[in-house]
Symmetry: C2
Subunit: 403 residues, 2 copies
Amino acid sequence: MKIVVLKFGGTSVGTVDRIKKVANIIIGYVKKRYNVIVVSSAMSGATSDLVKKSKKISNNFISSEYDVLVSSGEQVSCALISGRLNHLGYKSQSYLGWQVPILTEGNHGSSRISQIYKKKINKFLLSGGIPVITGFQGVNQNNRITTLGRGGSDASAIMCAKFFKAQKCIIYTDVDGVYTTDPNTLKKAKKIKVISYEEMLEMASLGAKVMQPTSLQDARLNRIDVDVKSSFIKKKGTLITKRKNISSNKTIAGLTSTKNDAKVTLIGVKDKPGVAASVFKPLSQNYINIDMVVQTSSGNKKETDITFTIKSEDLSKTLKFIKQNKKIKYRDLIVNKNVSKVSIIGVGMITTPGVTYRMFQTLANKAINILVISTSEIKISVLIGKKFVKKAISALHKEFKLD
Amino acid sequence: MKIVVLKFGGTSVGTVDRIKKVANIIIGYVKKRYNVIVVSSAMSGATSDLVKKSKKISNNFISSEYDVLVSSGEQVSCALISGRLNHLGYKSQSYLGWQVPILTEGNHGSSRISQIYKKKINKFLLSGGIPVITGFQGVNQNNRITTLGRGGSDASAIMCAKFFKAQKCIIYTDVDGVYTTDPNTLKKAKKIKVISYEEMLEMASLGAKVMQPTSLQDARLNRIDVDVKSSFIKKKGTLITKRKNISSNKTIAGLTSTKNDAKVTLIGVKDKPGVAASVFKPLSQNYINIDMVVQTSSGNKKETDITFTIKSEDLSKTLKFIKQNKKIKYRDLIVNKNVSKVSIIGVGMITTPGVTYRMFQTLANKAINILVISTSEIKISVLIGKKFVKKAISALHKEFKLD
């Protein structure tokens, strides 16, 4: 069998008319003699509506029933897709997580797929049928419905591609691919034709909302080529694949920027071993994600300054925990909410010297001050004032020949 | 175990606030040391909304996927009820049809429950849990979701009461019981405290919309006492039970009237054996329900008049089939859309002579002309002009001492 997994996100199946269009896309692949496995999200808005109801029932809705509640969304979209395919004369059947079954492990609301039983789906495929599988959900060993967490339909699609040994996995969404940077920030942004898992992972983690990072990681581990495409317009998308499949000569694949970061600096912290740990321990215990961290000595040898960034929404909680923290003493605490992290990403930087220098020089030429720096093998991130973001993105986009 | 089955209809769980009230009703029974099994319909409006979507997808939506689609409604309401019970500190879990499992047979969209597996639910009850079971749905032998047809949640509740040997089955709805006649037609209508299955069946078939006739039949066959109550106001409801449990001295339990009947009369039909059959065969083949039928000779011995009633909505189809029918010849065809069927129902009429006479005399006293009569062991129905309905109901209500 020549299997393709087609995954449709919430906006792609957001209305009955959209579902009709989706059915036509599916049939296009059937006509090309593919055995198609469809994976669908809930109709956009459906899940949020259910979440709202759960919040009115309880501010601490029990997670096992929450999964029963929200998983009904994909049941609706998949039945409608399958109904449409049947209407058009194609043999199709919806498969809910428990019907496949898709076995998961881990907690309700954030389960992981451990096994997909292939027998029923394979039999249906061989009979010429189009299975339409609910994304985002499965069952655990007690036969209770579980969900994979928001955006988990991507993970369902990737795991289907893995277990059914699909030749292709195509993620249909409301954007037509991955761009060198957010087109809303820079008009000159270009669509990337092909990108490595690693680059895409960095871009997704840094704010490009095309695919969930964990699903990308699954795709990378299982070496599954993923095509990101629009279900709204017929255009070539972006292929996410292995590094060695990429012959691009670009040093940098793309740029990202964040919108809601905050910077906290503790001035004059008593410098002794373990001081950083005692700052961050209560924060991590309370699920506050620390992003960039810098520790510098401020002249006085017995004191140090600690700077770190967090999501703006965590700021008030963070300040509370720091002020409550009896284990640290500091002279002053400075907060800056008007900061943004700008990153350049590319596997090319491993083999191309001078990328760091070029980035800093480009920003210096525009008189943009760098507050914090953090780097990995394939990305460099700098924290700058929020008002400089557009200017920085534009200059870097040009410098690294992405225009 | 002292088991009670509580069934909540769509309006009873129509909003999040209603679901909170329903949780409180459930807890009331738990506090009385009952082991409660909850059966719930979808939130009112939810099913209609899904049906609308299916119609936009296909005017002939495949029934197997239709069942997947609409069954999502109970999944939502049951998860919310169970979520609320957990929020209030009670151990509760939703059970979808396939999780119990509730096995069904027959076609999609109109399946019947053949078996309810008790093991999981009993174990949960014994552990002090409150199972919340989705009404209206089950699974067939192929593990595909099935539905019982509209109003089928009543059937789910009755069958749960049967299989789990419940002491009580309480149907919570938006009316506070069964009335001697429709309170909208007659203000003097009184709530019936206790009524036999047979009387309730006749009343339900004749227009009292409190419970589905097929579910009542299930209750009768399995000797399950059914209490019909309001979930909106705290009041005693109506108990539906065996005849011999009823010590009432009322001859007549209640009165009903229909709103949308039409009468068709074929004048001067050639009278030969099989003529009635040739009139009705094409109608029954096209799913047109014939209600009352009268055949009378109109003087001329070779001719006869055939009168019958149908639902108004079937009238144009009926006339089309009669006019197309080459097997019958008639001199004239008369249609009357302004008719209504008024019925008196009561097991008492079996042992009380003169009920028929009293009914006809009462109507005659009010100068109401009877067009057609039909009787069964425990009911007498007459067809009269629609404009006389209120007057007839009022006079009969008084005559049979229901005021």
